[in-house]
Subunit: 370 residues, 2 copies
């Protein structure tokens, strides 16, 4: 399945902070065909550093999509049955307007003059895309991590447009610990002199700070168990067991490699804006009254969390489940056993795929009946 | 209790890496009186960023010792009964020789020419101090976190000098995750241009990198629960709920404050050397055969871990307990319930104090009898 990223430009987008962005580009991909009734569209929502390329092989880069294990012919999001859409989020750096985009008023990149955005702003832009594609109602919105936050926001903000929502390994508000990890990543970037107040475009980017931020991220995405299984205390060089500050352990080598690779594909200012959007995320808008916040929803829900995910622990999904049950919503929940930590929704997908497959099929059946 | 740090110089210290340091200074404090039989001495071993000032009010700084809640008249380490000693570790920056010390061969600070050190090297230097103080056998060695590693090493390397060992919230080898967090801290420091290959003495220190490293540390010392209780999502400024990159949440303010305060009291190169010593720590020396590694021990043991400590999780203490039981050693273990994460051994000490008090008393009784 060779796929191509498409682009669409919208005149403007109003933001939660009060500013209006104009114009706004969206990068997106689609897989499968929209049926005649337009009832088989599924919107996939990507996590923090994801992009529109969720499945298939990119015509441009030759790379496999980030959720190719879940999306494709015969897979959980079966492209023989469903029309699957994925777009790069607002504030991103993979085709959708973000801080690295050119501000038409100045002819230079926005950098830190880009307005601060929220998860709701991201969803508001996705809504424009779905309208543009002529889809009156989505069969499902689905995503892991930050994708789960967007799925929840969709179900709350556009209840008539969402038949089903699948928030995986997510939360209804960022906790102090989640904010803290993001803040340290931001500090690492902003402490790098090459960051230069965000004005590094066309110059040397804050590669060292961004790499450190990414290393912190990677530790939080894995689990104690999965790191032990993958690396243990294995030395990088058997003949050179240490006593200096070069790379001793394989885990050090892995982190440095992942940190440095990330710099090639991700914009440091996008890192700042998107983590801030996550930290602001609180579906209850500061009230803490989750049941009230979820009251507008009309969708069916499938929530999934993973036993070893300590970054978005199961209790956060369970709080959502309990609130939906209190509202008498149609909600299914499963805590899957996995050693892969938060990464599980990307790498340990066998059981997750079966849950999603069944849930989508029954939702589709319900819709055809009604 | 006004206390004063004392200093002693030793001619030389042989290190695991093959190098010899000469001379070596040790900063230490003592509380209480050594009895006539010299059977009431307890050696306290500090954690990563600790120092010799474990208890009482410092004559120099007016500050309370880092474990004052545990050490003093009538406290768990009762200075009416016991002679308590604490020294700054080798590689530190609070009086004991470390990378910021003057290398007598060059007249300048060692910086990165300081030899790489191990937990065993730290213990070897402490042994010199105990010999110097004329103590033939310690009633107990005790410490949390890196202090627990030293306590274990003492019990293995000098079994005839240790009647009892109290490793709290520790491990017998650093795991991949523990190495990973340390490595990110090191990378944050070494990425700071002010680090300058370690040669920042007399110039601007790598304050930004060191602050980021410290922030990461603080997150790992707390728990999800304790951060939620302490900060939640409270905003720093009620009137200014965000939409910019200044400090929004109290947890951000806390981390930035702790990061910047740390820079005033801790040397960045010491951060590198001490974290590396922890990462090298493996009491089994790479064999993974823990029972064999602990075979030389003769001490009684009390191990303590905390339910919410995810940096040094209970299973690591429990592995030590099982190995000691297999060796038929006298071992007590308790997993204490606490929300305070790894910090619990410093801040949530009521139950810990009772366990230590009883264990020390019964050890002392045993010794008097024999």
């Amino acid at each position: 399945m060779i796929v191509e990223t498409k682009f669409v430009r919208f005149d403007s987008l109003e933001l939660d902070c009060g500013a209006t962005l104009s114009p706004v580009d969206v990068a997106y991909e689609t897989y499968g065909e929209l049926n005649k009734d337009k009832t088989n569209a599924v919107l996939i929502l990507h996590a923090f550093t994801g992009d529109a390329h969720a499945a298939g092989i990119s015509k441009e880069t030759g790379k496999l999509g980030w959720w190719d294990s879940m999306i494709g012919p015969g897979k959980a999001f079966d492209t023989n049955k469903y029309f699957v859409i994925c777009s790069n989020v607002l504030g991103g750096c993979a085709g959708t307007t973000g801080p690295s985009s050119i501000n038409p008023k100045t002819g230079r990149p926005y950098a830190m003059s880009f307005p601060v955005i929220t998860i709701r702003d991201m969803v508001r832009l996705q809504k424009k895309l779905i309208d543009y594609l002529g889809i009156p109602r989505l069969l499902a919105v689905a995503g892991g991590s930050m994708g789960a936050m967007q799925a929840l926001q969709w179900a709350v903000d556009y209840p008539d447009m969402v038949a089903a929502a699948i928030p995986i390994a997510g939360t209804w508000r960022h906790s102090a610990q989640q904010i803290a990890f993001n803040e340290v990543g931001r500090q690492a970037i902003m402490s790098d002199p090459d960051w230069d107040g965000g004005n590094y475009y066309g110059k040397r980017p804050p590669a060292r700070g961004l790499a450190v931020a990414r290393m912190i991220g990677h530790i939080t995405y894995m689990s104690d168990e999965s790191m032990r299984e993958k690396f243990g205390r294995r030395l990088r060089n058997k003949d050179k067991p240490g006593f200096d500050f070069s790379i001793d352990f394989e885990v050090e080598s892995y982190l440095r490699y992942r940190g440095s690779k990330f710099v090639d594909r991700f914009d440091a200012n996008s890192y700042l804006y998107i983590t801030k959007a996550m930290d602001y995320f609180d579906i209850s808008e500061g009230t803490g009254r989750l049941v009230e916040a979820l009251e507008p929803t009309k969708a069916r829900f499938l929530l999934i969390s993973f036993t070893s995910d300590w970054l978005y622990p199961s209790y956060q999904s369970q709080e959502i489940v309990r609130a939906l049950q209190a509202l008498n919503r149609d909600v299914a929940y499963c805590e899957l056993t996995s050693n892969y930590g938060h990464d599980a929704f990307l790498v340990d997908v066998a059981e997750q795929a079966e849950l999603v497959r069944g849930f989508l099929a029954s939702t589709y059946k319900q819709i055809q009946r009604s």
